[in-house]
Symmetry: C2
Subunit: 397 residues, 2 copies
């Protein structure tokens, strides 16, 4: 019988799948991005026929971009240089610790990096990412420590009349332990879904690292889907593959908040949890911060910890759901019932900054206690990953 | 307090995350691919400055491509046409049911489709996908039926001296049941990892659908990582983000097969399983078929069901691991011990076709029983999804 693996070429051929076959015939075996020891980064792209190749991403200083609302911060660009082999490259300055995103522009056409398989989807856009380690970015890495488990499963939501997909992080040791655990409900923003926090947010890595360092208590993190017209993320729900869009306003009409009890019930019936207020936290970003505000008020004696990350605040005027009908009284009741932490964080250039300032004034006027963190930057995952890293250690202590 | 959501422009601005912000400033809000009722598909791309835009993918007839081993089948190409707005488009013929993959070529530069967020990674290449439903492709869709759970967790492998990541599918109702279940160990090919079967293979959808239709028994499906130098998939393991490559030969030196008992032990200690030979199956594609062959022989009284999908067969001559030391005797012992099914499937144009023919001749010569399926096509996920759909219903009946 012939030995198939004697020759390098046969060895290569062995690896040809339908996709990889194409890759082999076309790909230049370039490394891009290459992160060097000194934290500079080299981007490379094979495009011999292109006239201009640029890279754009959040590792570059932002530039002002004209929009219908006036100038806003947009991503910067930098030009790559072509060598004799048709390979374009650029090496950056030394970069600080962060999980960065970037794209290439080939003669103005925006594309992913064919040599970087790491892509994160936000709404309908898949974007390449890379990590510069050190500092807070080490929390985003998989380190050689004990790991929790991440499960995608389905729960019954009578309030929305459907089975729905949900992502659950259980901490290291959960399966073998007889203990009960506290729960953080962690909500995504507009355009996100039950994949957002686990992928863009690096929740599993952040929680594993914080728990291993003794900075956060072992807890269950529940990441539901806040879009009431979806049973699961695009590609994972019963609508299968379709181009997702922003789903406001029907994700902010009170329906989701009203049915949130289904999620709590599912979690408390299916996991070993401490099912009391002292061991429930809820937090979310942007629309998820809005959901946090309204859910924690609508279920006023349910959560001891609230986190509003770059939160939207006020309901639309046409949102007449029962959840919004007595904002002030329920907020007062929530305060009167007491809680451990009401945490508000926002970036200085966030377009929701003013709304949050006004909301804090409202809380101040009624003497409702909260903690406030103001960061640099705007309405970005960069901030939300950091907010989670700051918020989780304050829970259940 | 201002109502932020009165104006469409504010509503849009609300949705701006760091990534989405870029998307909004750049993306044409095109739908691509658009699958029409008559199963024709329209691809669209905004590239006003391009001279030639083509699409390449496995929905097109293959063409002969020159390689060092002689002509091989490569993916076909078709040209798109530009309209006055700079949008290129092409509508295909009516396509048969399948999960297809494709890429664009913009002036020869290969790129993903910026309007299609659905990408599947194979080795280091991310490729867009779409589904034409009907027939066998309906098994690849999420339908409105009971769903199993998919968990990524970590297990201890003393045989490889590391904690390793693993993907586990548990069938609908597992969590609430007191029953014990049979187990299918499902192995990936060279270049794959514990993400391959669940993503490229659509295992959760296939199993959910087969179980709902009463065609397969509820079973646990265990998808480990066969690359002994990885603790987890690229981006998920402790090496974090790096460009993955083919890892032969060290994934086929006997180490993985020798340590496979760690995986069985983990599963049987952590899940409610029927821990006997009659309720264990093992199958794999390509390198995973090779692992299946050698593991089922090396643990000769452990599995009643074997599936070799487009399998590699013979060890390299320099693979001197103990696992390979007495191939013929252990195969004889495996036969003498008896089993329910030894299933071999391969495509007519697979480069491993001849090796499988020779292996079947060897089995014939020793009167070792097996079932054989010969399909159209080659060494592709298209075949492997179908093989799983055919194999799973034969198990544990």
């Amino acid at each position: 019988m012939k030995n198939l693996f004697l020759f390098p070429v046969a060895l290569l051929a062995f690896c040809l799948t339908g996709f990889a076959q194409e890759a082999l015939f076309n790909a230049q075996q370039l490394i891009s991005p290459e992160v060097h020891e000194d934290k500079t980064v080299t981007f490379r792209l094979f495009a011999p026929d292109a006239d201009v190749v640029e890279v754009t991403g959040d590792f570059l200083p932002t530039v002002k971009v004209e929009t219908p609302r006036g100038p806003m911060d947009g991503p910067g660009k930098a030009k790559l240089t072509k060598d004799d082999n048709g390979v374009w490259s650029l090496t950056t300055e030394s970069l600080g610790p962060e999980l960065y995103n970037y794209s290439f522009l080939v003669d103005g056409f925006k594309t992913t990096d064919p040599n970087n398989p790491f892509l994160i989807r936000d709404v309908a856009t898949a974007t390449n990412v890379f990590i510069i380690d050190g500092g807070h970015a080490d929390l985003f890495k998989t380190n050689d420590i004990a790991h929790g488990s991440v499960t995608r499963r389905w729960y019954d939501s009578p309030g929305l009349d459907m089975d729905r997909r949900i992502t659950i992080y259980t901490p290291p040791g959960y399966e073998k332990s007889a203990e009960t655990y506290p729960v953080l409900y962690l909500l995504h923003g507009a355009g996100g879904d039950e994949e957002a926090w686990i992928n863009l947010g690096r929740t599993a890595q952040i929680m594993d690292n914080l728990i291993a360092q003794g900075k956060a208590k072992p807890m269950i993190v529940v990441m539901p889907n806040g879009n009431v017209i979806q049973d699961g993320a695009p590609g994972e729900g019963s609508k299968n593959f379709y181009k997702p869009t922003f789903m406001i306003p029907n994700t902010m009409d009170g329906t989701y908040e009203g049915a949130f009890g289904d999620i709590i019930k599912f979690v408390e019936n299916n996991y070993r949890v401490k099912a009391d207020k002292a061991h429930r936290a809820i937090a979310g970003l942007s629309m998820g911060g809005y959901h946090t505000l309204h859910i924690s008020r609508y279920y006023p004696n349910t959560f001891d910890y609230m986190g509003l990350f770059s939160a939207a605040i006020m309901p639309r005027e046409d949102a007449t759901g029962k959840v919004y009908s007595n904002f002030d009284e329920t907020l007062q009741t929530q305060m009167d019932n007491g809680y451990e932490l009401y945490w508000i964080a926002i970036g200085k250039t966030d377009f929701l900054y003013e709304a949050n300032t006004e909301y804090r004034a409202k809380l101040d006027a009624m003497n409702m206690p909260y903690e406030y963190v103001e960061s640099e930057g705007g309405h970005t995952w960069r901030n939300w990953r950091v907010y989670l890293s700051q918020f989780a250690p304050m829970l259940f202590q």
